[in-house]
Symmetry: D2
Subunit: 107 residues, 4 copies
């Protein structure tokens, strides 16, 4: 089962700057060989369910090991059985819908 | 690693009534022997990381098997290494903070 | 437009214990006269969109005023135009689906 | 109060293809003059709290007007009082942390 997952890991008890923890999670995801894309409020990841979830668990383990005693994470995740869809497919289909609307009913 | 997780599974392509799918997820969680509590926008679950995540995966498998071709799920999850904390502990500590505030500085 | 919203406010830079901040948000919601229900990973709130969103904003203002320099919040929110539905209605419909499944096909 | 918000709007009861609804939300956000960035599981938006929240409400109104009888939305949002931070600042600080780690302790 393929999954597209959006991950936002928030370490607590380590002050205000969380970028080093987010960067550590990025490395976990990349070293797992997963396709991913960082954005301003999380990271998109795509891959097989078990591999993606193993990376999420590894992020928690690493962030605790870096000294964060508490972590709160928010995740969105999607699966579908009707067809394969990549992260890029999702963005492309919204971009196409924007183009269609821009060209209007007379186009 | 213990986790407290808040799960909201949304099947797409099955119309407006999603309660039978949510109920199927409830059964998955209960049959896994996990402590859980349903609320109006999801379900709180507590347990060992791997057991809780296996239940989340099983929810996706079951909801697809019930006929939903697409699922989008939102999750919050927390881990901590400083101390053990149950779902009830979390609610109790907020309730105590509410009581302290209600009794005021003169109490 | 009515909304059912699930709110989880996380103050950063204030250490590990966040219950006093969550309790302050609870008071904001109650003082706004909104129907709400605390759970282990957030609070369900129902009401008119503008009133609920004003309470969410007030939570951020109060938590900053209590000394948290940074807040990250996660929200789920639902609106529907086909019929009115309360938080209790949502729970009841899942409970009924669980009962139907338990009584089985022979019932 | 400035906010960085990550928005994921999910229309229910309209089948499996939701890109036209997501595109309509993109137009709402752009027409509001807000800085935004689409990703594979949502859209990052930055701006003044009231303007961003007005756009979120307008998204729900438009998606209902397009024929979706039910919408479930997930949001992450962050505010901070210690300093100004844009979406690009957040990405840059993670990228810098990745570079520091790559160059290693001897750099």
């Amino acid at each position: 089962m393929k999954v597209i997952l959006d991950l936002c890991v928030v370490p607590l008890g380590v002050g205000l700057s969380v970028s080093s923890y987010v960067a550590a999670c990025e490395r976990v995801i990349r070293e797992a060989g997963l396709v991913s894309q960082l954005h301003a409020y999380g990271t998109n990841i795509e891959g097989e369910w078990d591999e993606v979830m193993a990376a999420v668990k590894r992020c928690h383990e690493i962030v605790h090991a870096m000294g964060a005693p508490r972590i709160t994470t928010s995740i969105r995740l999607g699966t579908r059985t009707d067809r394969e869809q990549t992260m890029q497919d999702k963005i492309d289909s919204v971009e196409r819908a924007l183009d269609r609307a821009a060209s209007g009913p007379g186009a």
